[in-house]
């Protein structure tokens, strides 16, 4: 019952703020190219989808994001594993990792366009680059964080290094890896949009930029709306995977509790 009222109140609050927005824009006669009323945004949204324009660009951005995310996090995971398991790899690679880590990866986007052109390849690489580091660092830390007592237990059973990796280090690293995936997903979307800003033939980021040239602010608002929903849904996907994989992690349960309060 309490939940019902909370939901009702949330909806009411949302509707009234939209209404207030509409009324304020009309009352002060704010021009649409500065700040559009919600009705104009809704119209732009409808027009965009009705003409099939938004679907096309949404598909393209999603493709970049997901491909870049998968590529970047897979590479990050494997290199992180190599660094954590092999002292030589760590010794030779770690300085570069530290150097690149402090570099804002999106600053490389113009160069990548020069090297790989305006096509999908270029945006996927840029996205992968951004998604790569959270996974690399988290995998590294996670694999090295196995508790000494647990290591001793495995050793006392005469476990091989291989078994210690599969039975202890890897599962132990999973909370870190999942946290890395969480961040990488958010970063991937940012990477994709920035790559499109810098130069692309399609995508929601490119669409925002061309709308900006045409002073189509309502259009931009509608695309922003789509982007925030896409971001939310991608994040939910990771969350669902996370809950399945980390059902045993006590800190995951605390998170769930907190989220239950929020929702």
């Amino acid at each position: 019952m309490k939940r019902f009222w909370n939901v009702a109140l949330t909806i009411l609050l949302f509707c009234s703020s939209i209404l207030a927005w509409e009324l304020i824009v009309r009352a002060f006669e704010i021009p649409t190219f500065i700040f559009p009323a919600p009705s104009k945004v809704a119209m732009a949204l409808w027009r965009g989808f009705a003409s099939g324009l938004y679907q096309k660009h949404l598909y393209y951005t999603l493709l970049e994001t997901v491909l870049g995310f998968l590529l970047g996090s897979a590479l990050g995971f494997f290199l992180g594993t190599a660094v954590a398991l092999n002292r030589y790899v760590e010794y030779f690679f770690y300085p570069y990792i530290v150097m690149f880590q402090s570099l804002p990866k999106v600053a490389l986007a113009p160069l990548i366009v020069v090297w790989f052109g305006l096509g999908l390849k270029s945006q996927v690489i840029n996205t992968a680059l951004v998604a790569f580091f959270p996974l690399l660092v988290n995998t590294m830390v996670g694999l090295k964080s196995a508790d000494e007592d647990r290591m001793n237990l495995m050793r006392s059973l005469a476990a091989s290094e291989n078994q210690i990796f599969w039975m202890l280090r890897l599962p132990n690293a999973l909370p870190f890896v999942m946290a890395g995936l969480d961040v990488a997903m958010i970063f991937a979307l940012i990477g994709a949009i920035v790559a499109e800003f810098v130069g692309a033939r399609a995508g929601l980021g490119m669409l925002i930029q061309s709308m900006n040239f045409n002073m189509d602010v309502s259009g931009q608002f509608s695309v922003l709306l789509i982007l925030s929903i896409v971001g939310l849904l991608l994040n939910r996907c990771i969350l669902l995977i996370r809950r399945r994989v980390l059902f045993w992690d006590p800190s995951e349960k605390e998170r769930l509790e907190r989220e239950r309060i929020v929702l």
């Binding site: 007592d149 237990l153 039975m167």
Partner: protein, 256 residues
């Protein structure tokens, strides 16, 4: 027949800021099926001794022989129980118990019934599908004991296994351990800093000095088994505790 022979065993930890002499010339023998308790003040090298016996720490000097062959690395016929349960949270109770079977590739099929019987023995039947976070501290430690027994090791090494439990649970666990031991007759080396616990459980109590730890006394406990908790109040119980405590006090230590 003797299972373990420890000869002139010493351990020196060296690190950047100096070295720690943890163990000095330890000598003792353990017979088949004997229950040995090791007592000593905190930091005297009890855990170090256990790690060397388990083969996960090399000695600096001397040697340990298990059935005549020197221990040079981890062995498959030893079960270890640590102070904390050290369960893997991503494994269910049953999977935790079967960890040694997985590691040593003994075949799960053949050990499933053994695992269930052992869980029954420690009073955890019906909990095999649960996860560690669903169990109390005492129950987790029972899982750890079950895990140490699953591959039927010749020897059980226990490092203050009940140290983290409350007094009541601890007494219960002492009773259970005695029951399991009477049923299985493993050779047990049980480390503790509680003198009454050592006397209650053991056939022999090895008393260690402060660091560098060496064995200053070897006390035979001749109280008949099975010992009930009330045995702690029997007239024959107190003298053992008293004399062991006396050894510590004579050395100028606060009693453990």
């Amino acid at each position: 027949m003797e299972v373990i022979a420890v000869k002139e065993l010493s351990k020196l930890y060296s690190s950047r800021d100096g070295s720690v002499h943890a163990l000095q010339e330890i000598n003792f023998k353990v017979s088949e099926g004997e229950f040995i308790a090791v007592v000593g003040p905190s930091g005297c090298g009890k855990s170090t001794l256990l790690k060397i016996l388990a083969g996960i720490l090399p000695p600096s000097n001397g040697e340990v022989r298990l059935r005549g062959t020197p221990i040079t690395g981890p062995r498959r016929d030893i079960g270890v129980v640590f102070q904390s349960p050290v369960l893997f949270p991503w494994r269910s109770v049953l999977d935790n118990v079967l960890l040694p079977v997985d590691v040593q590739r003994l075949g799960r099929d053949g050990h499933l019934k053994v695992a269930m019987d052992l869980l029954n023995l420690v009073g955890l039947d019906g909990f095999e599908r649960r996860y560690p976070w669903e169990l109390s501290g005492g129950m987790q430690q029972r899982v750890a004991i079950t895990r140490a027994l699953i591959h039927d090791p010749a020897m059980l090494l226990m490092d203050e296994p009940f140290g983290a439990l409350d007094a009541m649970t601890r007494e219960q666990m002492n009773l259970e351990l005695q029951r399991i031991w009477l049923e299985r007759r493993k050779t047990v080396i049980f480390i503790t800093h509680s003198i009454p616990e050592a006397v209650f459980l053991a056939d022999r109590v090895l008393v260690m000095t402060p660091r560098p730890g060496c064995i200053m006394d070897d006390v035979q406990v001749k109280i008949p088994r099975p010992r009930a908790l009330e045995a702690m109040n029997f007239p024959e119980f107190a003298p053992y505790v008293h004399s062991i405590r006396g050894r510590f006090n004579a050395k100028g230590m606060i009693d453990a």
